[in-house]
Each structure stands twice: as C-alpha cells, then as structure tokens.
C-alpha cells in the first residue's frame, strides 16, 4: 500500500515532469496556435499576378461607366473606375464596385431553367440550351402559324446598342411591333426634346462646363443618369458651379447644392414657368435664339389663319406671386433664382428625378426644357444637347413575309405611337391595363423580358403581376433570378456583364458621342449564353426570312462586323469617341415642322385642341385616393446606396445603408418631426403605410429635411427574389404607387401617391 502510493505519486510527478521536458506540450501548443490561426473553413484567396482589364459597367439602367477590373488567375477581384474613360473619368458608384458580388453571388441563374411548379413558386427544372431555344422557337413558331405574331412582346432594358437592335430586328422580321423599353426617368425628357427640337437621341447635359445648374428634382448625386459621371463632374472637379436643387426632400444632391429650394412636390412645372415669367418679364432671355430660332414664343397664326397662343402670353398665367402660392416658395426666391439663371454665362435646367423610374410627365419636361431655350443654351457649351442615335447600326435591309407584315401593321399593345399616344415611343406602364382591358385571351401571348425587371420596377407592382399572370408564356433572359424571372415560365440566362461582349453607346446625360465596349473580364461562370447568340439561334430555328435576317454566326462576329470602323480603337482603349460630333448649329439643329425650336410643339398630341394644352403648363396629377382619408403624400426617393432599378442591392451595398433606413428587414419611412407629432408617431414606431395601390409595414424615421405632410420612402428595397441575402428587406415603394396616364402622352404622371399612416 505504502509502496503503491509512493510509486503512484512518483509516477504522477515524474510523468508530469518528464512530459514537460519532452517536446510534446510545446508541439501541442504550437499546433493549437497554428490551428486556431488557419481554420480550414476560413478561405485563403489564391495568389497570382494581378491583371487589370478594361471594360464598361452596365449594371444600372443608366449604365456606361468605364471600369478597370483587377483580375487574378482569371477571377475578378475588384472593380475600379477607368480614369480616362470619357463618361465617368474614373469615378464609379458603389453599385458598380460591388458588381463582383452579383457575378459570383447566389442570385445568378446558372443554366437554362423550365418552370416545374406553379408560376412564381420557385420550382425549376434544369434544361439544356437546345431545349430552351427550341421551346421558345416552337412557341413563337406556333403563334406565327396562328397568325398572331403581334401578340409577342419584348420588354428590354434599353433601346440603344446592338442587343436592343437585334431584338428590334428580330421582332420586325418575326412580325411584332411590340418592342418596349423599360421605364426610364428620361422618358418624358426624351419626348420633350423630340417635340420641341425634332430630335431623337440621348439627352446630354454639359454639366462640366455649366456655371449655373437648376435641377428640378433630378437627384444628380443620388443616381441620376450615369452616377459615375455625375460624381466626376460635381463637385469633384474642383470647380465652383452653382447648383440649385428643387426638391421637397433634402436629398444628398440638395445637401451638396448651393441652394436647396423645397417646392411642393408636383409643382416643379409651375416653378419652371414662374422662373420663365420673370426672365421674359425682365427681358433677360436670349434675344438672338428666341427671335431667330424659335417658334411659338409669341402668339402666332397657323396656315389657316387661326390665331394661337404663344409661350410668352402663356407665362402671364404664372406670375411669381401666384407661383409662390402654388409651390410654397417665397416670391423673392423665385425672382432671384430666375435672375441668377438668366444672368449666368452657361446656365442649364435639368429635370428627370433620380434613379426612381417615373419621369413626371411631359408637361413638366416641356416647362423645364423651355428654360434652356429661353437662355439659348441648346447645343451650346454648358447647355443641353441631343446626342443622336449611333450610326453604326445600319444593317442590310431585310425581307418580311406576309405574316410578319400583317403583324407589324397591328397597333402596339402599349398604345405608344398609336392615335391615342402618337408622340410616345414606349409605354410599358400601359401594358397591365391593356391586358386587363382585353376581352378573351390576353393580347400578349408571349412575353420576352430581356431587361428592366418590370415586376419589380413597375408602379402598382401587384396589379402588374396579376396582369402578367394572364400572359400564357413568359421567357426571361435575366442574368439573375430577379422578380420577373421568378415569375417566368422559362429562363434563358444571359452572361453577367463581366462575362460578355456588348457595345455601350452614349449613356444618358452624356453630352459627347461615345461608344464603350463591355468585354469579358472572366470566363462565363455558368451555363449561360449571350442574349445576342440566343436571338440569332432562335431566329435560325424559326427559319425563313427571319433566319435570313440574322446571317451571323454568333453575336461576337456580328458585333465586330457592326463596329468594324471602331473595333480597333475599342479593342485597344475600351472606348471610342466620335471626335467629329459637334452639336449642330441652331440653324440646322431643329427637325420640327417649323425647323425651329418649338415652344409650342406643333406635333404634340393635343386631344382638346386648346392652345394651353399644347404649351407646357402646370397641370397637377389627380392622384387617386380620398385626400381626407389619405392626407399624406408618399414620395419615393432614390439613394445612391440602394440600387433602385432592375438589379437589386448586393450585400455590400446593403452594408452601407444606415440603420434608420432599413433595420432587421423593416423599412423606415421618413417623416417630418412636426407631421409625426401630429400623427402621434415617434422615432422607430411601427406603422402601416396605406396607399390606394396597397399597403406596407414600415417604421418611422424622423427627418427634419423632409417637407411636412410627406412620407418619403426609399426605392430599391422590398425585393422578393434574387437570393436570401437580398430578398425580404423592407417593402417595395413601387408597389404603393399609382399609375396615371398623362392625357396625350400616356406617360405616368403619378410619381407620388396619396397615403396614410396608421399605427401598427
């Protein structure tokens, strides 16, 4: 016993000492140290030489910023601005920088898919490209056999560049007039330019050379136009330009502006007309331009001898005192703003709101554009310019068969270009109504969605979704599983923009004529196919004249051929600038019936025939809903930190959004503290926001920078597709907005909505 115990003790002590002297404990500690430092599930990025590849970012609807992508071993690592790119000069927005997250993220559609469950249920069956293409071809072929080619509609994200032209060409050869561009904040302005100047093209604002910018709600720093370009122009260029921001909410643009003028929402056109009133009254307008190159400034007689009112006499209805009352802006402010604008060397007036897609109607656009005409800054340095359609897109004439010709003669489903809305080119927002109005089967039998994600971006989204449900066949070409793709029958995923070739013509807002080249930075990650190739292949399998209209082997060959003149430059530096493009002189600039700038747009569709309805005017939208029950106005606002359009916020972007905008999947609406007090709300309270279109659960954030009586809600949240990293955050403001067709243009005039807030 004694010996045993002693043995035991010596064994324990000796053993402990012995172990301590061996390398075992030291080795073990070392192992622990190393192991805790290199957990096998903590990734170790692969090293390698980094290669920068030039391309053009097209992730947003205004897209077109030159980028330099850092790649290592063929993988995209980081997106940086391309300093010499003529649009953005090295500046890019946070969405562009985070595009790698979409490239590699879980929102990607990895192969063609066929719907397996009910529509929108999210159950898919993987199919081959051959099957996908033949499914679409068979469907289209069947519709042609039934003499219904015009029931095929295509919704595209853009109407410029080769892909859009391929689509249009395909529809033409096939026999459908229904190519529809997705909603854009430039819709109304493009229409205003085409009516007053007779020019079709991209609107360019030479902000770099302007010394006085009046922005009627254009959220220049919040995603308007091409975000990267806006940043590179203001205020980063170090030049003091005077920016006046007219907006009921203190946006980031308003905060950067030299002056923030909070006009009542929807009264922007009244303010523009009021400013014009002062300029004309005080004789501050550009006499040369007005006297020699304008039409409809003074009262005039038509060729039948009928007297018409002109712009000058129209302005009498908008004296500053009256405008002050309408807009809620001090009379003196209007006067001094008008004088400041007219006396500046190179002033420019901009409208078009922000990344938010409702453009505000033609009246407002005409009223704002008239200011540019008054000071004669059209096609001038520091002014506005219409950059014409690129001329490289001229291909061989194609033949159409009888079915196609008959189909093409059918009126467009969205009524754009019809007798009802003859001036307007695209009216996506009219589609749901057209479907619902039709008796019997849906006027759209097959819908091809190649961009725009309409089931997220359209106003009154739920109603749009219901209308889309009546379309028997929806094919989506989206790269990501977006809201529209989720609701489609077949998915033919396009390459991510970092994986494909595409031309990027002059992006919105740019005053120069540029073509950029989007190039594959990485090899396609998944079983996706370039949309151009898909169209060529579908056309091929449809055969006949349709097949003949697409003689190219593939999209890349077609692109090279199309851009043969510019290709070498494009390959080398990633962009091509049309150095010959000079905005035409006034004498040759206008393509209107009068050959002049038309204050009174003679071609404007004017059902009433009244002069005041042809001229710009302040005609507030009659928003639906009972103002007693819905005393508030819901104002969507865009934030540069939230992708508000077709593409959703990648996680990086959501990371930058403050906790008083989105928290734990609750969206915050802004409310002026005074309004909140009246309604009995305090910071963080939960509430139900109701509009005639729907309702949403929100929380309250008090913001002094918002006009009393408004509720401001960010665009871009409330996604219900993409991935679990993106969906389910807040509510979609588009779903709460109404759609009111502006008489004559059909554009959506209702960019706001009546609303009420009740405690939740």
């Amino acid at each position: 016993m004694k010996i045993d115990r002693r043995c035991f003790l010596s064994f324990v002590i000796g053993g402990a000492l012995g172990t301590a002297l061996t390398p075992v404990p030291w080795k073990l500690t070392d192992d622990i140290a190393i192991w805790t430092q290199n957990w096998p599930w903590t990734p170790v990025p692969e090293e390698g030489p980094s290669i920068y590849k030039k391309s053009v970012c097209t992730i947003c609807s205004g897209g077109g910023c030159g980028i330099n992508v850092r790649t290592i071993k063929g993988q995209a690592k980081k997106i940086e601005g391309q300093p010499d790119y003529p649009v953005n000069r090295g500046s890019i927005c946070p969405l562009g920088i985070s595009a790698t997250q979409h490239l590699y993220g879980p929102s990607r559609i990895q192969s063609p898919l066929k719907r397996a469950g009910k529509r929108g249920e999210g159950r898919w069956e993987k199919i081959s490209w051959d099957e996908a293409i033949s499914t679409v071809s068979e469907k289209l072929s069947a519709l042609r056999n039934q003499k219904k080619p015009h029931t095929v509609t295509c919704i595209a994200g853009s109407d410029r560049g080769t892909v859009a032209y391929l689509l249009e060409r395909f529809l033409t050869a096939y026999g459908s007039p229904n190519f529809i561009r997705a909603l854009s904040s430039f819709d109304a302005y493009e229409l205003a330019f085409s009516l007053t100047q007779g020019q079709q093209g991209t609107l360019g604002y030479d902000l770099a050379n302007s010394d006085f910018i009046v922005s009627f709600g254009a959220e220049l720093m919040d995603g308007w136009g091409t975000a990267g370009q806006m940043f590179s122009l203001y205020p980063g260029n170090g030049k003091k330009s005077n920016l006046v921001q007219v907006e009921p909410r203190l946006s980031d643009t308003a905060a950067m502006a030299n002056q923030w003028i909070a006009a009542k929402p929807g009264t922007e056109s009244a303010l523009a007309l009021g400013i014009a009133h002062v300029i004309v009254r005080d004789n501050l307008y550009n006499k040369n331009f007005i006297n020699n190159h304008c039409f409809g400034f003074e009262d005039w007689e038509d060729k039948n001898g009928k007297a018409h009112q002109g712009y000058r006499s129209l302005l009498r209805q908008y004296p500053p005192a009256k405008v002050a009352e309408t807009t809620g802006i001090d009379k003196g402010t209007i006067e001094s703003l008008a004088r400041g604008f007219a006396r500046a060397k190179r002033p420019v007036a901009i409208g078009g709101r922000g990344g938010h897609l409702a453009s505000g109607g033609l009246d407002e656009a005409l009223a704002v554009q008239a200011l540019n005409a008054l000071v004669g800054n059209i096609n001038q340095p520091g002014g506005v310019v219409v950059v014409p359609e690129p001329d490289y897109l001229s291909w061989s004439e194609m033949k159409t068969d009888k079915t196609a010709s008959e189909g093409l003669r059918q009126p467009r489903i969205d009524e754009a270009g019809t007798d009802k809305f003859p001036n307007t080119r695209f009216l996506l927002n009219r589609i749901p109504e057209a479907i619902n109005r039709a008796k019997g089967e849906s006027p759209i039998q097959a819908l091809l969605v190649t961009g725009g994600n309409p089931l997220y971006t359209m106003p009154n989204t739920e109603a749009a979704k219901k209308a889309f449900d009546k379309i028997p066949f929806i094919a989506s070409f989206s790269t990501y599983m977006d809201e529209t793709a989720q609701h489609a029958d077949i998915l033919l995923p396009n390459h991510h923009f970092l994986e494909r070739y595409e031309d990027v013509p002059t992006p919105a807002g740019t005053p120069t004529r540029v073509i950029g080249l989007t190039r594959p930075v990485v090899k396609p990650r998944f079983d996706t196919l370039h949309i151009g190739d898909v169209i060529i292949r579908i056309a091929g399998s449809l055969g006949g004249f349709i097949g003949q209209a697409f003689p190219w082997k593939n999209y890349q060959e077609f692109l090279k051929q199309t851009l043969s003149k510019q290709w070498e430059t494009l390959e080398k530096q990633g962009y091509w600038v049309d150095s010959e493009f000079i905005p035409p002189r006034w004498a040759r600039a206008f393509n209107t019936p009068s050959g002049k700038y038309e204050f009174y747009p003679q071609e404007r569709n004017n059902p009433s025939g009244k002069d005041t309805d042809a001229l710009p005017g302040f005609r507030p939208a009659d928003l639906p809903g009972n103002p007693d029950k819905m005393p508030l106005t819901l104002l969507p606002y865009s934030s540069i930190r939230i992708a508000g359009g077709a593409v959703a916020n990648p996680p990086f972007m959501t990371k930058t959004v403050d906790a008083d905008v989105i928290r734990n999947n609750d969206i915050f609406v802004e409310l002026n503290p005074g309004t909140a007090k009246k309604l009995g709300f305090s910071e963080g309270d939960a509430a139900i926001l109701k509009t005639p279109a729907g309702e949403a659960r929100v929380r309250i954030h008090l913001f002094e920078g918002l006009m009393p009586g408004l509720v401001a809600m960010p665009t871009g949240l409330g996604r219900n597709a993409f991935s679990s990293y993106i969906a389910g955050k807040g509510a979609n403001v588009n779903a709460l907005l109404a759609d009111i067709a502006e008489p004559g243009s059909g554009l959506n005039k209702a960019w706001a909505s009546r609303a009420s807030l009740v405690k939740a």
Binding site: L103, P106, F231, L250, I640, P651, T656, G705, K729
Partner: protein, 273 residues
C-alpha cells in the same frame, strides 16, 4: 528604438477628407469591403454587429425644415499617434497580446489577426469605434470566395479587425520602389482603396511630414480639424469643412465654448521619436 526607425524616411501617413466634397455615396465603404475582404451577413442592417473599416455617418444640423442641412462624415481608423505622439494610441497600449501595433516607419496602426485572441479591450479603448469584431464565422455564399483579394488575409471568427490604410498597398509600393532602387514611395504609388474609389475626390492621402504631398498643406489648412481632438489621441485623419455647425458636431464642447478656441497644442507635425 532600432536604427531603421531613426532613418530619415520616417513617415506619418494620413488622410484629409474634405467634407464639403463628400456626397455620402458610400463608394469608399464598398471599395474597402472589396479590397479588404470584409465579410457580410444576410442581415447587414444592425450596424452594431456588422463589419466595416470605414463608415460614412449622416449628420444634420438639427434645424427644422427648410433650414436643415446634412453632412456626411466618413470615418476610417484614425491611426492615432497617441497622447504623446509616440505611438501609444489608445488601442495599441491596451492590447494584451501585442496583436495591434504602431508602425513607427509609417505611423500606421496594424492589426495581427492571427494573434488577436478577441478580448476586445482595444474596442473599448477606441473612442472612434473604428474597431469591429468578427461575431460570426465569415461566409461567402455561392462562388463569392472567388473575388477575395489575396493581398489581405481573411479574418476568422472571434478576432478584431480595422482599417489598415490598405497597408498591403504600401508594402507593394515599397517593394516596387526598392526594386527600382528608390528610397521614396511616390505619393500616387500608395493610395488606400477608399481614397482611390472616392468618386468626388474628397479624400486626399499621403505623408503628413512630406511638404511635397498634398496632405501636408491640406492638413495645415485653417479649415482642417480632427475628430475628438480634445481626447489627445492625435489622429492622422484630418477633415475639412467650411460649415461651422459641422465643426461643432465633431468634438465635444462644454457650454459657451466654441470650436477653434481649443485648438490643441499637440497639433504639431513633428514625430517625436
């Protein structure tokens, strides 16, 4: 103090952020996430749990509509020189395991992720909340690991991380200079990701001791100031604004005291070692 440190090329890298130019777009933040492999989670809305090395704050002047003004304040790690300009920044002196250190050659406060054992004392010490903790194991869903930058090691759960002024970029630039037989790293050779990404060029970066660098002059501007200067942390991140109310929002003032009166005597540009 080693010989190397007494070398004449001792630098104090710093930043000057022009708040009048910052539009609050967040490009700096996103560029930083991409450059530095900052992880993300499904719910990024709770800002007290998310990781970011630079965060842009929205500040308002508190005045009622329509006299309200807002200003954005980007806030990276301030890379403090410490009370006595000797590198004893608030965090460095408290770290029990020397997992964060002040580099006397550059003035940059480092963080050694593999040594940090996650006691978070440095977070408690940092008045700027520049330090963030990895509350979760980082996860890159789908193929997102592919975009990770090999120049910056990925952090694991349970350690603290913070802005390094993109120190890996400095190392690259220094190696390049060395290979080319130069002592000096040129100003434009070493710029952090946020500076490069700022689309309005609101951020300037360089050696605060080098008269040829832009920051040298800018940091001495009358408009220049630093956050919480009275704490004597001696940050190397300067701000500029022409708005008086913004100045008031960047430090604490007792009644009747106003910004400017209390300019710190320690605002010397000399590194004291």
């Amino acid at each position: 103090m080693t010989k190397q440190e007494q070398h004449t090329s001792t630098k104090r890298y710093g930043m000057v952020i022009d708040l009048d130019r910052c539009t609050g777009c967040g490009a700096c933040m996103v560029a930083c996430y991409a450059e530095n492999n900052v992880p993300f989670s499904k719910d990024e809305s709770d800002k007290m749990l998310t990781l970011n090395w630079i965060r842009v704050f929205k500040v308002d002047n508190g005045k009622p509509f329509p006299d309200t003004e807002i200003c954005y304040i980007p806030k990276p790690c301030m890379q403090c020189d410490g009370e006595h300009m000797d590198g004893h920044s608030p965090c460095v002196s408290v770290c029990p395991a020397v997992a964060t250190d002040y580099d006397h050659l550059t003035g940059i406060v480092s963080q050694i992720y593999t040594r940090c054992f996650g006691c978070r004392y440095c977070m408690a010490a940092c008045p700027y909340h520049a330090r963030k903790f990895n509350w979760w194991d980082p996860v890159w869903p789908a193929e997102m690991e592919k975009y990770l930058n090999p120049d910056v090691s990925v952090r694991m759960r349970g350690v603290v991380e913070k802005c390094s002024f993109c120190y890996h970029r400095y190392q690259k630039a220094r190696n390049k200079a060395y290979l080319e037989g130069r002592d000096e790293v040129y100003e434009d050779e070493y710029q952090p990701a946020c500076v490069e990404a700022c689309p309005t060029k609101a951020i300037t970066f360089g050696d605060l001791l080098n008269p040829e660098h832009q920051v040298y002059k800018l940091s001495k501007s009358r408009k220049a100031f630093r956050l919480l200067e009275k704490l004597n942390t001696n940050p190397k991140v300067y701000y500029m604004t022409s708005k008086k109310w913004v100045r008031r929002k960047t430090d604490n003032y007792i009644e009747n005291e106003s910004p400017g009166e209390t300019r710190n005597s320690s605002k010397t540009q000399k590194a004291s070692h």
